[in-house]
């Protein structure tokens, strides 16, 4: 690849788009796995899925890639943000942005930061406990068919008893919704995949994805808090 691929403004767009699409696929997998709580079988299905995800070597190594991808998305985003601020040294006294663009497309850095705050809370709640320390729930393990499984479902029930945590999660999901609403379509445009023929389809899929995935995620803490799922 040419040297230009590592410095130009367009390359930053490509990285943003590629890492973004990668994170989107992660969201899809993550959402699908977690949706197992809605089976409402006392967490058995979910705990089994979580066990698989936590022990499979391929998945574990993808976790590293995921962190790298996330970091790249953040670093690239911050670089864009600061460079773009420099591109307009004097601000307009009056700028009527809303007439020509959506607030969320202009606020990707802000939305991304909110999502990052949420992620820190979220990782502290679950990832740190499963991978580094230990679960807080009393029944740390459950046995299905004689096999031992980590009781992540119980941990969720415990964590989502706190109202403030539920609120943080819901806000995180709302941020994600806005971030995706621009990010999904934007990734395709950045990679040059915006053709009048497919534009409509991409927009519909993108909008649907942006609504459905965060909605499912948000439903989890709410359902647990309201004890729809037990």
């Amino acid at each position: 690849m040419a040297k230009g691929l590592f410095g130009s403004s367009l390359v930053k767009k490509y990285w943003m788009a590629l890492t973004g699409l990668f994170l989107i696929t992660f969201l899809l997998v993550h959402c699908a796995v977690n949706a197992a709580i809605f089976v409402n079988d006392g967490g058995e299905t979910f705990n089994k899925f979580a066990h698989f995800m936590g022990t499979n070597l391929l998945i574990r190594s993808m976790e590293i890639v995921l962190f790298v991808g996330l970091l790249a998305h953040i670093v690239d985003g911050l670089m864009l943000y600061f460079q773009n601020r420099k591109a307009r040294p004097t601000a307009y006294a009056k700028q009527n942005n809303n007439s020509s663009s959506t607030w969320y497309s202009r606020s990707m850095a802000l939305l991304g930061t909110l999502i990052l705050f949420f992620l820190i809370v979220h990782l502290g709640n679950f990832w740190v406990k499963t991978r580094i320390t230990e679960l807080s729930v009393i029944d740390q393990h459950l046995y299905y068919d004689g096999e031992k499984y980590e009781n992540l479902f119980g941990e969720m029930q415990l964590v989502f008893k706190e109202l403030w945590v539920v609120i943080v999660y819901v806000l995180g999901c709302i941020s994600l919704f806005w971030h995706l609403l621009h990010g999904f379509k934007s990734a395709f445009q950045s990679l040059g995949l915006n053709h009048s023929k497919y534009k409509g389809t991409i927009a519909i899929i993108g909008d649907a994805f942006s609504v459905i995935i965060p909605a499912i995620f948000a439903a989890m803490p709410i359902a647990m808090y309201l004890e729809w799922i037990a």
Binding site: A93, S99, S100
Partner: protein
């Protein structure tokens, strides 16, 4: 005076590039709804000169929306509130008696202010010089114009991209200060035509390089440029340029 509109104008005044500059208030009466926005500024300047003040400096030339010289950021929008028009085509009937109107120069690191509302758009020329051409000598001894048929759809698309007037509204209205719409329009025009093929890859690489060196921001697909472009240049051009640049990097040889 033939009109009866009264306006409060808030105009950016800056003596030179090094001067700090500030917004200044003006009261202007006798504005007719049939005046163009620039003719309204003419009336203001006539008044300022007669009162011994310094008139407002602004770029303008053809006053029919094609030269791309006029460049005012009016009430927070490039070329004002109407779509598909330049400042010179904006008429005062788009405003109401008693309105307060903000008038500012393009704001971009790539467009330093020369004086008041006038900016230096040399950056666009330099981007064009970096590759916005087809290297053909000017002898006229090429080949017959009809030797290569061009599908009408491609020709029409190339034309649509080529209608860019280089006014800079895209970079001025982009919240990121990006000039991608301008650059992509030129890249697209040539990428779509058979005549542009030999230098297709080199062209996009060189033009993007120059664009970055001029201090414009990065495109994040907000889309304000497309909305505020007086010539309705499509965002599809940016997607095409993204594609062209990617391909040129992946496979630099033709």
């Amino acid at each position: 005076m033939e009109g009866n509109m009264n306006l409060k104008l808030k105009i950016w005044r800056q003596k030179s590039t090094s001067d700090k500059g500030a917004m200044k208030d003006y009261q202007l009466g006798g504005v007719s709804p049939d005046m163009s926005f620039l003719e309204m500024i003419d009336v203001l300047n006539d008044k300022l000169i007669r009162e011994g003040d310094d008139p407002v400096t602004f770029d303008h030339d053809c006053r029919e929306g094609i030269c791309g010289m006029c460049s005012m950021f009016i009430n927070g929008e490039a070329h004002g509130p109407n779509r598909g028009v330049t400042t010179c085509q904006l008429h005062m009937r788009s405003f109401k008696d008693g309105d307060t109107i903000y008038v500012e120069p393009w704001r971009s690191a790539g467009f330093p202010v020369i004086k008041d509302l006038m900016v230096d758009r040399g950056a666009f020329d330099r981007i064009q010089q970096a590759g916005g051409f087809i290297s053909v000598n000017t002898s006229g001894r090429t080949m017959d114009a009809n030797a290569i048929p061009v599908p009408k759809e491609d020709a029409d698309k190339a034309f649509s991209a080529a209608t860019c007037i280089g006014c800079g509204a895209c970079a001025a209205s982009c919240p990121n200060g990006s000039a991608m719409l301008f650059v992509s329009a030129k890249v697209s025009q040539f990428a779509l035509l058979p005549q542009g093929q030999p230098e297709r890859k080199e062209r996009v690489l060189n033009m993007v390089k120059q664009m970055d060196e001029e201090g414009f921001g990065n495109c994040s697909n907000i889309g304000a440029c497309e909305v505020q472009c007086p010539k309705n240049i499509s965002l599809e051009n940016i997607a095409r340029m993204n594609r062209e640049y990617l391909m040129a990097n992946i496979k630099p040889e033709n």
